[in-house]
Amino acid sequence: METIFWILSAITVLGALFAIMLRNLVHCVLSLILFFLGIAGHYFLLRADFLGAVQILIYVGAVAVLMLFAIMLTRHVTGDEGPREVLGGKWWAGMGTAIIIAGLLWAIIRKDQLAQILPAGGAQTSMVEIGKAMVTDWVVPFEAMAVLLTAALIGAVVIALEEVIRRR
């Protein structure tokens, strides 16, 4: 079981690293997909399989495709990659802070006694339970989420579409 965990986390971390390090954008997104799948795997490992499916459905299915679309729309048609500067201005500041935070978190987690707890086990919350919770005591966030998603949908369309209308 641990081996699976380590493999999955290796995949995830590699996916994340490549996602931000690679020069070619499309490769970045592909590694990001790998990362998403890794996370989905972790969900399955943590016996939150509905979430894993949702993760795949939403991230791999939609967000990754969206990213690809975005990349495709924003690259010059010629698509010549060119040895452009990859890292932004003052990148060292960003790197430095990230590393500091990582180190600190690592130190804290290691020191904290909370970290040694083992999984509690017990009945896995089944889909029915989730469905019921979703509609009974979580109905307000659920509806809010519906509204939010529609707003995001319309907003994104309006922002991106504007140029088309103007051209006509």
Binding site: V26, I33, A53, I56, L57, G61, F69, R168
Partner: protein, 364 residues
């Protein structure tokens, strides 16, 4: 644990191979001509011939193509299709993997195939293939929604996502047939919607714009040749077969048929019934491919968002009604009326919409 998977894998691959043959012969027959009959007795060895041919063919990769992505695309096209089979309950005793989120897993995996299309189109650095990929993705994404909603109707009726449970829910009734969901009003509508969605999903029949020759040069797999092209075809066909399988499980009572039962014998009979229905669905696919004309891109998308989506939502409402109106005849009347009403209004709206003259943006 491994046996069912191996069995399923080999059987479905075989089915895939011979689906291509059956399809070509059936299309030929429909068009008053023979199908391939040269290679074997009735063209039986044709698929093998095709496979060999594609293997032998030179695999040309465009110079400026993105090597890695170009290679990865066909692989990713096949993997989800195969994964789909893991959820299809072939027989009462033969279920590769029983996930309690069966259907959801199926849909999640099918979205991954979208990526393959895109990567294929993008990697070949060819404007037309890119456009073809864009259209394919748009098509798949927009048809996924009504398909999922149709499936939701069934899930609501059954109360569980797992495919095995759904199939088991359709057993019983006279000769294990009358309980099939297809014989419920909402079930029938769901069946129609789901099949349309499935066809669009795997880019077949009227929705085969991405790989249609007359459209943009065979869409995203223009630059592919040789075995990569074969993989793409395989992915496509496997996806359609798997979708057919899922349709069968959800609407045509899965492996339920007269004589199907839990025992060994029942299991075998259930497998038999499952494959009969699967064949029926495949033939239906082929039949539709032979008759219906290809749909224009804007009509394709308009149809999905303006007709299928509202219809599927209405279907969900119908299932709700069905669930709460315990008095069966009243339930029947109410749901049929409701669905017919929706169907009429939508066809009225859609009809007028189609009639409108096409506006050309650039041509005068």
């Amino acid at each position: 644990m491994a046996i069912p998977i191996l069995f399923v894998l080999s059987v479905f691959l075989g089915i895939f191979a011979y689906t291509t043959l059956v399809e070509r012969k059936a299309l030929g027959r429909i068009q008053n001509r023979f199908g391939p009959n040269r290679v074997g007795r009735w063209g039986i060895l044709q698929p093998i011939a095709d496979g060999l041919k594609l293997l032998i063919k030179e695999d040309i990769v465009p110079r400026r193509a993105d090597q890695f992505v170009h290679f990865l695309a066909p692989v990713i096209a096949v993997i989800p299709s195969i994964l789909l089979f893991s959820v299809v309950p072939v027989g009462t005793r033969l279920v590769p993997v029983d996930l309690n989120i069966g259907i959801l897993f199926a849909f999640a995996v099918s979205t991954v195939s979208v990526l393959a299309l895109f990567m294929g189109g993008w990697a070949s650095r060819n404007k037309f293939s890119l456009l073809g990929a864009m259209r394919a993705v748009a098509q798949v994404v927009s048809y996924e929604v009504p398909m999922v909603l149709a499936a939701v109707a069934v899930v609501m009726a059954v109360g569980s996502l797992s495919t095995l449970r759904i199939a088991r829910a359709q057993s019983g009734g006279i000769l294990n047939v009358t309980n099939w969901f297809v014989f419920r009003p909402w079930g029938f509508v769901g069946f129609v919607l789901f099949t349309i969605g499935a066809m669009a999903e795997s880019a077949r029949t009227p929705f085969d714009i991405p790989e249609a020759e007359s459209e943009i040069i065979a869409g995203y797999h223009t630059e592919y040749s040789g075995f990569k092209f074969a993989l793409f075809q395989m992915g496509e066909y496997l996806a359609s077969i798997a979708m057919a399988g899922i349709t069968v499980t959800m609407f045509l009572g899965g492996y339920n048929g007269p004589g199907s039962g839990p025992g060994w014998v029942g299991g075998l009979i259930s497998m038999f019934w499952f494959f009969i229905k699967l064949a029926f669905m495949i033939v239906l696919n082929i039949w539709i491919r032979g008759t219906w004309p290809r749909v224009r891109v804007d009509q394709l998308l308009g149809f999905a968002w303006k007709v299928l989506l509202p219809m599927s939502i209405a279907n969900i409402v119908a299932v709700g009604m069905w669930h709460y109106l315990t008095f069966r005849p009243l339930a029947w009347v109410a749901t049929t009326l409701w669905l017919v009403l929706w169907f009429v209004t939508l066809s009225k709206l859609a009809a007028t919409e189609n009639v409108a003259p096409r506006t050309y943006r650039y041509a005068s």
